[in-house]
């Protein structure tokens, strides 16, 4: 799974945000705010990855419990999927 073309991660006032450009902007004129881990997950997804690989990437980088990460990733992916930014 991967982030759709046209969604861009940027920094504004120290905050990670996602904005849409090009065709993506026609259906999405809002803005997604991400915390540090969110931005990390976004970058992994931008290159294309799987749910399993995503869990591993977060575990490799952050000292957190595996079950918690699995649950959180599920939630994040659900949210992004509902926002229609994943393919």
């Amino acid at each position: 799974m991967k982030i759709k073309a046209g969604f861009e991660l940027r920094e504004l006032a120290g905050q990670s945000i996602v904005v849409a450009t090009g065709d993506a902007a026609k259906d999405f004129n809002g803005m997604i705010r991400l915390n540090k881990v969110g931005a990390f997950i976004w970058k992994e997804l931008a290159d294309g990855t799987s749910e399993q690989a995503l869990v591993k990437a977060v575990l490799d980088r952050y000292d957190v419990d595996e079950d918690v990460v699995k649950q959180d990733i599920k939630e994040v992916l659900n949210k992004l999927s509902n926002a229609n930014v994943l393919i």
Partner: protein, 248 residues
């Protein structure tokens, strides 16, 4: 003679000066000419020119189907202008902007909340000390290290504005309430409200320029959040807070 020939002959370039830029507006519309009248300049070479196509006007109609053709042309011109001024460290910021004692104050809110009413309260309280800069769509421009708020012909249905260019003192996000409260906020906490007041370019390189300018703006100008009644007390409160005076 084909009518297209006459259209070409009739086309007029209106040079206006806003935000310290000379901009040539191409339009045949009397409405646009009237609108730009107070901002016209003579004998200065335009920094750039704006001409819109029927397609641009049609695109505006899709967004605002109820507006007249002239209003749609005006919007199309301003949209093109707002993208072009990005190259001059300049962004549009939808708000009601006024000047008091040489400093600019911006009030932004969703449509119909009362930003224009609030700036009217300032005029009632401070009288002739207040000069309206732009009641609807001012430009903000960085010149040197300073951000200025600049009046434009796109100044709302009551045509409240002037071609002023004034250092920006503060930005206030306004909402209605039963009581009056104002406090300074971290701009990162109110990004959706701030970003929705500007034009988001569809093209990524222009989007990046806009975001860099917005970042610079938010680093140098304080942002306030205000909940208020439509009253003179609210105007006095926002003035004291944004001016940096101690609250009464």
């Amino acid at each position: 003679m084909p009518s297209a020939f006459w259209l070409k002959m009739g086309e007029i370039m209106i040079p206006i000066k806003i935000a310290e830029l000379v901009i040539g507006i191409h339009s045949e519309s009397l409405y646009i000419r009237k609108m730009c009248g107070a901002y016209k300049c003579e004998n200065e070479k335009p920094d750039f020119e704006i001409a819109v196509t029927d397609g641009d006007i049609m695109a505006e109609r899709m967004l605002c189907p109820t507006l007249s053709s002239e209003e749609l042309e005006s919007l199309a011109i301003y949209r093109a202008l707002c993208l072009r001024v990005l190259d001059f460290d300049c962004i549009i910021f939808h708000s009601s902007a006024l000047e008091l004692d040489g400093e600019g104050y911006l009030f932004a809110a969703a449509s119909g909340i009362g930003k224009s009413t609030h700036t009217r309260m300032w005029r009632e309280v401070f009288g002739e000390r207040v000069i309206m800069i732009d009641d609807d769509k001012p430009l903000l421009r960085r010149l040197g290290d300073i951000w200025y708020v600049c009046g434009t012909p796109w100044n709302g249905k009551h045509c409240l504005g002037s071609s002023r260019v004034v250092p920006l003192k503060g930005i206030c996000l306004l909402s209605r309430d039963k009581d009056n409260k104002i406090y300074q906020v971290q701009s990162c906490d109110v990004l959706p409200a701030l970003l929705s007041q500007t034009l988001r370019p569809g093209n990524i390189s222009q989007m990046d320029i806009m975001l860099r300018l917005m970042d610079s703006l938010l680093k140098s100008v304080p942002v306030y959040s205000m909940r208020c009644t439509m009253s003179h007390e609210a105007a006095q409160m926002s003035y004291r807070k944004m001016k940096g005076m101690r609250q009464a």
